[in-house]
Symmetry: none
Subunit: 182 residues, 4 copies
DNA sequence: GATTAACCGAGACGGTACGTCCAGTCTTATG
DNA sequence: CATAAGACTGGACGTACCGTCTCGGTTAATC
C-alpha cells in the first residue's frame, strides 16, 4: 500500500532503532520521527510496531525466497551442524536479535502477528528441516525437526546459557540418536 | 516491604486480571484499582507488572519449594510422560498461561526480571530434570533435559501445534532414544 | 499553538472553575476535565494553571486593548474617583477576584508568569495612570501613580479592611494632596 | 503542643529550606525530612506549611515583642525614612523574603493563615505607624499609614521596580505632603 | 525509682495531581 | 490527491506530597 520509497525509509528506520534501543522501546512515534514520515502514513500500512518489525525482517531476506535454506550435502550430521550454526548466527545477529525478541514478545498478545509469524517463518522452517530428515529416511521427521529446533530456541529466548560450538556438536549428536539414524 | 495483607490483595488482583484480560493489557493502574491499593504501594514493592506477576506466581507455589517436583518411580519413561503432562498442564492452565506468557514477553526487555525468572524457575526446573536422568545413569543429563524441555516450550510459546497425548508419548520416546537409554 | 476552539473551551472552563472553587484549588487535571480536553492539550500551550488563568483573563478584556481605560474628563478628582471605583470593582468581581488572587499568589514562585503579569497588566496600568497625572502637569507622575495604586492593592490583597465609598473619596483626596495638585 | 526542642528543629529546618529552594517548593515532607522529625509531629502542631513558616517568622522576632518598632525621634521625616528603610530591609532579607512571599501567597487560599497574619503582623504594624502620625497631630493617621505602607508593599510583592534610597526619600516626601504636614 | 502517659521516629497506606509519553484519529496546509 | 505536520482525546506511566494510620521506642512528669 505504501510507496516503495516510504517502505524503504520505514524499514531502515526500524532497523536502525532496533539495535540502538532496548527491545520493548520501539514505538510508532519513534519510527515515524526517525523515518521522517507522518504517523498516519505508518498506520495506513501497518497496524503495530510488531508488524513493521516483521515486515522489515522479511524484506531483509527478500532474495532468499524460502527463508530457510536447509543445507543438503548428503552428510546429515554436517548439514545439521551447519544449519544449527546458521540459525544461531541469525538469532544472535546484532540487528536481528532485538527484532526477533520484540516480535516473539509481541506475538504473545497479538494473535494476528503470531499467525503471520508462524505462517511466514516457523512453518517453512520446520517444513524445510523435516524435509531434510525425510530425505534421509528418518522416521517421524517432523518430530525430530522440533527436537532439533526446540532446544536452540529455548536457550536463546530464555538465555539460560550462551551458545558454543561444543554444544552445537553435542546437540546434533543427540538429535541424530533420537532420529535413530545409523 | 509491603505488609502481608497488601501483598495478598495485590496477588489476588493480578491473578484475577490475568485470566480476564489479554496478556499484554495488565497495567500498574489496573492492578492498583482492582486490588484497592494505591499506585505508590505497588511501586514501593515491585518495579513492574512483570515483577508482580512473577511474585504472584511464586506465592502460588509456595508449598512446593522447588516448583518442579520431578516424579521418580523407577520407570523413567513413565516418569517423563507424567512430567511432560504436568508441565503442559501448568503451561496451559487458564490462570497460569497468561501470566507465563506475559512474563516471558517482558523478560525480553527486562533483564532483572529475566534473571529472576531463570534463577527461581528455569534453573531449578532443568536441574531437577537432569538429576532425574543422572539417577538413571544417562550420560550428558543436562543436554537431555534441554532436549526434553525445549520442544515443549517451543510448541507452547510459538503455538505451532496444540498438545495431545500421542505427541507427549512420542516426545518421551524421542528423548529416551537421544539419551541412549536401554 | 492551540486551536481557537480549544482555547475557548479552556478559557470557559477555567473561568467557571475560578468562581466555584477556592483560589488555590485549580488544577491542570480539573481544567482538562471541565473543558473536555486532554491534559496534553493543556500542556502543549500553557505551562501552568497560572498561565491559563492569565491567558483567560487577557482574553476577557480583548476588546479594551490596554486593559485600563483611565477616564479623562478634565476633572482629575472625579476621574480618580471613577478609576478607583472601577479598579475596586474589577478586583472584587466574583469572577475576577479569585483569578487575580491565584495569579498574584503563583507569581511569587513563577518568574515567567510574574514577568508576563507585569508586562501585560501592571506596567500598562501604571503607565496609563501616570499619563493622566502628567496631563495635569503633576510633578513626579509615576510616583503619584504608585501612591494611588499601592494602598488599594494592599487593602485588597491583604484584606485588612473592606472597601467603601468614603474610603475611596478620602484616598483620592490624600493622593491629590501628595500630588500637590491645586 | 510540640516540645520546645522539636519546635526549634522545625523552625531551623524551615528557615534553611526557605532560602535554598524557590518560594512554593516547601512541603511538609521536606520540612519533616530536614528537621529529622516525623510528619505526624508536624501535623500535630501545625496545619500547613504556611503556619510553620509564619510560626518560624514570629519566633525569629521573639525578642522584639511588638513586631514593628516605629522610630520616634521627633523628626517625622527622618523617622519615616528610617522606618521605610528598615521595612524594605526586612522584606528583602534573603531569609525573610522567601518566607514572606510564601506566606502572602498562601494567605490567598487559607483564611485561617490570613487572619493570623493580619492579627499578628499587619494590624500591629499599621497601628504603630498610625500612632506615630497621630503623635504628630496628623489628621487621618490611619489613612496616611496605609498610604505609606501600600506602595512599598506593591513594589515589593509585584516586583515592579527595585528599591533605592532616592525612591525612599521621594516616597516619604509624598507621604508627608498627603499628610498635610508642615 | 518505677510507672504511665504524652510525644516521638519511622514509614506504610489510599489518594490526588503532577508532567510525560505514546496510541490512534482527525484536521490543515503544502506540493 | 497524497502527504508532512501536528493538534486532538485518552490512558498509562512513574513520582511527589497530602493527610491518616499504626507501630515501637523515648522522654518526662507523676505517683
Amino acid at each position: 500500500m505504501a510507496r516503495q520509497q516510504t517502505r524503504k525509509k520505514v524499514h531502515e528506520a526500524v532497523l536502525s532503532l532496533a539495535h540502538e534501543t532496548p527491545a520493548g522501546t520501539i514505538t510508532m512515534e519513534g519510527i515515524a520521527a526517525r523515518a521522517g514520515v507522518s504517523k498516519q502514513t505508518l498506520y495506513r500500512t501497518w497496524p503495530s510496531t510488531g508488524a513493521i518489525l516483521f515486515d522489515a525482517l522479511l524484506a531483509r531476506s527478500m532474495t532468499e525466497d524460502g527463508t530457510v535454506e536447509v543445507p543438503n550435502s548428503g552428510d546429515l550430521a554436517a548439514d545439521l551442524e551447519l544449519l544449527a550454526t546458521a540459525t544461531i548466527a541469525e538469532l544472535t545477529d546484532t540487528t536481528h536479535e532485538p527484532m526477533l525478541r520484540a516480535i516473539t514478545a509481541q506475538m504473545q498478545s497479538d494473535d494476528g502477528l503470531a499467525a503471520q509469524f508462524r505462517e511466514r517463518l516457523l512453518t517453512p522452517q520446520l517444513a524445510g528441516i523435516s524435509d531434510r530428515f525425510r530425505r534421509e529416511n528418518v522416521p517421524d521427521p517432523y518430530g525430530i525437526a522440533e527436537l532439533f529446533v526446540g532446544p536452540i530456541f529455548h536457550r536463546w529466548l530464555l538465555r539460560t546459557h550462551p551458545f558454543d560450538s561444543e554444544w552445537v556438536t553435542a546437540h546434533v549428536a543427540r538429535t541424530l540418536r533420537a532420529a535413530a539414524f545409523k
